[in-house]
């Protein structure tokens, strides 16, 4: 498994690096690819020899605008894909994802509320992600409560509850948008999901959540493998089932809240990415978790690149791009489940 992990991990990282390089070079400002890389290399301290011939504007576009956005796309993608992997693993539900479970919408309600009332810094720079986490976690509890019957959770019922709550909470955010005057655009952006006009500050908000969530989920890779056999089997093999569920759900919700706080609701990333990874490397969560983080980064990076160049200079909201890819994929998974009904999809 280690050889397999290194091979796939290396390939994924290489693909991510290439994607970052290419995406950085694409944009509407008309800076040539060689100039982009000239500027980037000159940012490195040991190449700053003073022979640079780029304008401050060009440097600002590349380092402030493009680089921060590209890295943000990678981190948001990693967070969402990890959250989706966590939800799918611990709920043993192939259709689970921060979006289909309603958690992302729950997070956006908290975030929109904070913005509407101008409370962004009420308890420091973490106000939005923490409030988003609280409302996201509350949403998850409601979804569980709605879908529980006789102590068991049906796969489809859970997703149905999630989608219903997502519709309700989306309406709630729309309501807040219509109530506000000055901050419409800022909140609207939470509904559609976008990475436009973000800055390095957003990266700093995201990083600690990822630095916390990724190792936690990696640590739970093996227990999640045993979860595949069923909760009872896992318990009999010595896993503390309830604690595992709690930790993984909290970590996944935190990752969702962080992503939603900086980018709004970007759907289906957590659904598509782990499935594609699973198709490639098999069911082992010790591989799926790290590769989903990298794969999520690549997926959102390309979706965002598409969002900003497809109709340039107009931008398509990122959430629209991922939904156009993700919703048909969801339909495909549903169809496949129906084909092998009775078996574990």
């Amino acid at each position: 498994m280690n050889d397999k992990g290194l091979t796939y991990g290396g390939a994924a990282l290489l693909l991510l690096a290439v994607s970052i390089v290419v995406s950085l070079s694409i944009g509407s400002a008309g800076i040539s690819v060689s100039d982009v890389w000239g500027i980037m290399i000159h940012q490195l301290p040991w190449f700053a020899d003073g022979t640079a011939s780029y304008t401050d504007g060009e440097i600002a576009i590349v380092t402030q605008v493009r680089l921060s956005r590209v890295l943000l796309a990678v981190l948001v993608g990693a967070c969402l894909a990890l959250a989706g992997t966590g939800f799918q693993g611990v709920l043993r539900n192939p259709l689970a994802d921060p979006y289909t479970l309603g958690v992302a919408s729950g997070c956006s309600v908290g975030a929109a509320f904070i913005i509407l009332f101008g409370l962004q810094t009420a308890i420091g720079m973490w106000t939005i992600p923490l409030v988003a986490f609280a409302t996201g976690a509350a949403t998850l509890l409601i979804v569980f409560w709605l879908s529980r019957s006789n102590g068991a959770m049906q796969i489809e019922t859970l997703i149905l509850s999630g989608v219903i709550l997502q519709a309700f909470l989306g309406a709630f955010v729309s309501f807040m948008v219509s109530m506000s005057q000055g901050v419409v655009n800022q909140i609207l952006f939470w509904l559609m999901g976008s990475l436009a006009l973000r800055s390095w500050d957003n990266l700093y908000i995201l990083l600690p959540f990822l630095a916390f969530g990724l190792p936690i989920l990696l640590l739970y890779g093996r227990p999640l493998n045993l979860f595949v056999l069923g909760e009872r089997h896992a318990a009999h093999l010595g896993i503390r089932v309830e604690r595992t569920k709690l930790v993984v759900l909290v970590a996944s919700t935190l990752l969702t809240a962080a992503a939603v706080s900086v980018s709004g609701v970007i759907g289906f990333v957590g659904l598509v990415v782990p499935h594609v990874i699973r198709l490639m490397v098999g069911p082992d969560y010790r591989l799926i978790i790290p590769l989903s983080a990298i794969g999520g980064g690549i997926f959102v990076l390309w979706a965002d690149t598409l969002a900003r160049i497809a109709l340039s200079p107009k931008e398509i909201p990122l959430g629209v791009v991922t939904a156009l890819i993700g919703a048909p994929f969801f339909a495909y998974l549903l169809h496949r489940r129906k084909l092998k009904q009775g078996g574990a999809a």
């Binding site: 006789n150 640590l219 093996r222 493998n225 045993l226 595949v228 056999l229 069923g230 009872r232 089997h233 318990a235 009999h236 093999l237 010595g238 896993i239 503390r240 699973r278 098999g282 069911p283 082992d284 010790r286 078996g343 574990a344």
Partner: protein, 264 residues
């Protein structure tokens, strides 16, 4: 020794176990029998430490089973479930390897002999040919063999079997119980099995425990427990008991209620 003291448990608001007391000595095969819905599987779940009773306690070596750290318990006790293993995408080798989980540290460091233990379990269950096969490509009987191999890899001293033969045809039923008994004799294991089939229970168990109306109706060796009177009282049907022609173990012959003695 495992002791169940004053166990009370409800299932969906209905009291199924009502003050049950029971003792299991080490190194024997116990069979738990009784009619449907009497709480046999519920009792086994309580013995496994996964579920807690509403009242009462289960003691393993004098200590409450619910006070054991889960991994430590899993090193001593393993459970084979009725439903078997689901058809997942893991290979046979990987699933059997999961039996080593209780011996692994947080970062997945195995004890040195894990590989050997896994290989031995795979060989003992005749799965060597199938070791690289995915679980979803196996038949139900083959998956049950994988489940048992996983149990062996867990190296327990106590195994709990929850109606292990339900979904198997008779050939596999005998094969499975033969394997369990050979393994039990070799390692001096304690086996507690919920069994549906009274004749199999009689053939394989050292002691039978009959559950009826939330308590123990009878306990002891099969020849003492399996009487026509008990079958009539617990299962509400008439049966004749005959000795097995080879082993002498009591076997139950059912009879249609339309059959009358005077027609003989």
């Amino acid at each position: 020794m495992i002791e169940a003291n004053g166990i009370v448990q409800e299932v969906q608001g209905r009291t199924v176990l009502n003050g049950l007391n029971c003792r299991f000595d080490m190194g024997k095969i116990y069979g738990i029998i009784g009619p449907n819905g009497v709480g046999k599987s519920t009792f086994l779940q309580l013995l496994s430490g996964v579920e807690r009773p509403k009242a009462g306690d289960v003691l393993l070596e004098g200590r409450s089973i619910y006070a054991y750290p889960r991994k430590q318990l899993a090193r001593r006790m393993a459970v084979l479930q009725q439903s078997g293993l689901p058809p997942v995408g893991f290979s046979v080798r990987e699933v059997v390897g999961m039996g080593r989980y209780p011996y692994q540290g947080w970062l997945g460091s195995d004890s040195d002999d894990s590989e050997a233990v896994i290989d031995e379990a795979i060989k003992a269950m005749g799965l060597t040919e199938l070791r690289q096969r995915k679980m979803d490509q196996l038949s139900g009987g083959e998956r049950q063999r994988v489940a048992l191999a996983k149990l062996m890899a867990q190296q327990p001293s106590i195994i709990l079997l929850d109606e292990p033969t339900t979904y198997l045809d008779i050939g596999f039923q005998v094969q499975l119980l033969d394997t369990v008994r050979a393994w039990q004799r070799e390692r001096n294991l304690t086996v507690i099995a919920v069994l549906h089939d009274l004749n199999l229970a009689s053939l394989y168990c050292d002691e039978l425990i009959v559950l009826h109306r939330g308590a123990i109706a009878a306990a002891g060796a099969a020849r003492d427990v399996l009487t026509a009177e008990l079958i009539g009282r617990v299962y509400e049907t008439t049966a004749s008991i005959v000795a097995h022609p080879l082993t002498g173990a009591p076997q139950i012959m059912l009879q249609p209620s339309s059959y009358r003695d005077d027609g003989r």
